[in-house]
Symmetry: C2
Subunit: 274 residues, 2 copies
Amino acid sequence: MPDPRTVFFVSDRTGITAEMLGNSLLSQFEDFKFQRVTMPYVDTPEKIESVLRRIDDVATREGRRPLVFSSIVEESMSAQLGHANALVLDLFQVFIAPLESELNAKSSHAAGRSHGIANSHEYFSRIEAVNFALAHDDGASTRDLAKAQIILVGVSRCGKTPTTLYLALQFGIRAANFPLTPDDFADKTLPASVLPHRDRLVGLTINPERLKQIRGERRPGSKYATLENCDYEVREAEQMMQRESITVLDTTTKSIEEIATTLLHRAGLQRHAY
Amino acid sequence: MPDPRTVFFVSDRTGITAEMLGNSLLSQFEDFKFQRVTMPYVDTPEKIESVLRRIDDVATREGRRPLVFSSIVEESMSAQLGHANALVLDLFQVFIAPLESELNAKSSHAAGRSHGIANSHEYFSRIEAVNFALAHDDGASTRDLAKAQIILVGVSRCGKTPTTLYLALQFGIRAANFPLTPDDFADKTLPASVLPHRDRLVGLTINPERLKQIRGERRPGSKYATLENCDYEVREAEQMMQRESITVLDTTTKSIEEIATTLLHRAGLQRHAY
């Protein structure tokens, strides 16, 4: 395998969008290794100049051009960065011209509109969603449960908490989650506090082998983590979801992003990625 | 103001990257209103066909072309979507050719490498970071604090918790946070449990007026939320941070993304946006 190739993510703001798109593109080249460097808040000609020097140094040292994914709103600074001894792909400039032409309007070319708190009402409601997720994690509170847009149920460690937090942070969705426990299985009924909200219930499930692995990391050697117990809990939970006609999503091979996207898509909830 | 223009985000996977870049571009056109529709998991020619029909319906109904931000890895399906009666901007195809040429390699053109759990070790450590953030939220636990990559301190409601969770979910960074309370101010000392880790401490602060507003939403009419008390706590906290030579970041006008990016940048922690 050749040496890793250096990749720069250069942005006048956080660089998160540049990194996401860049990583998504790089993941298409499986046989390569990449060494990533993120450079956020590059928002003056002087900072661009210093980035140019750094890129050129790497190009000289490695004997080949680095890759640069950039997101620079200001045209002249983007052009300045284009002089780097690198393959420079500006995610912003390439799309702004066709948009200007289609909308028949000039863009404001002002940095920092994305990932900021320009819309403070929207931002505040997103932070409220995070507080809501924390207050309603793992059945901690049943207060204001009527305000939940979605309520996840499932056995311990099937992915409820990270999904709930991701829904709040990334999409501003108010999500709660409730564990399904052996007590619920003995009663053959859902936790009483979620019953009035069944229209917003979604079940998460997981492969028992995978669950055993996850629980084992957390409580090695416990009965909780045995395959026998995981098998039992997952089977009971799935039967309960079926009995109660709750939609079920298997999280075994899904990332938080995939779980969250699938949940919102199925629930018909429009989202806004921040 | 004209009617909102319809914007589609079409992806063979979650669509999160397409939405982020699309929203970032659209935020440059301040005088326009947009109606957003996200269509994830469009990964067969039949699904593309159904999306095409929906886009064409909207074009006919609104009497103008919608905007489409797409991220479709498979070339023929991307070309198929290009036939829509819309301005179609494919975030993926436009960059893959120059990358193939630069790397002198064909891309795998396989969907689903991003936002998935292809690298399960990395994914697991990211979920562990979320568990760590929850376990170490608001000083809840001092166990394993040595494993924290960053420890935030600051007064109640200055933004510690959402930032900690974001660092974990988006970047896989293990972050803890500790409140600074009137008890600490009376003692004129940092909480004892964070003292051994001062190299990883970062202080968050906030404008007292803004803090009053945030606390007031939470506990209206409380002493906790008075301007006088907010003033006092912020002043004491800032003095303590100065005395202890802790870097301070003002969160008043910053989003979670901006706070997280700035913290990592200052701490010199390399990140990986998922």
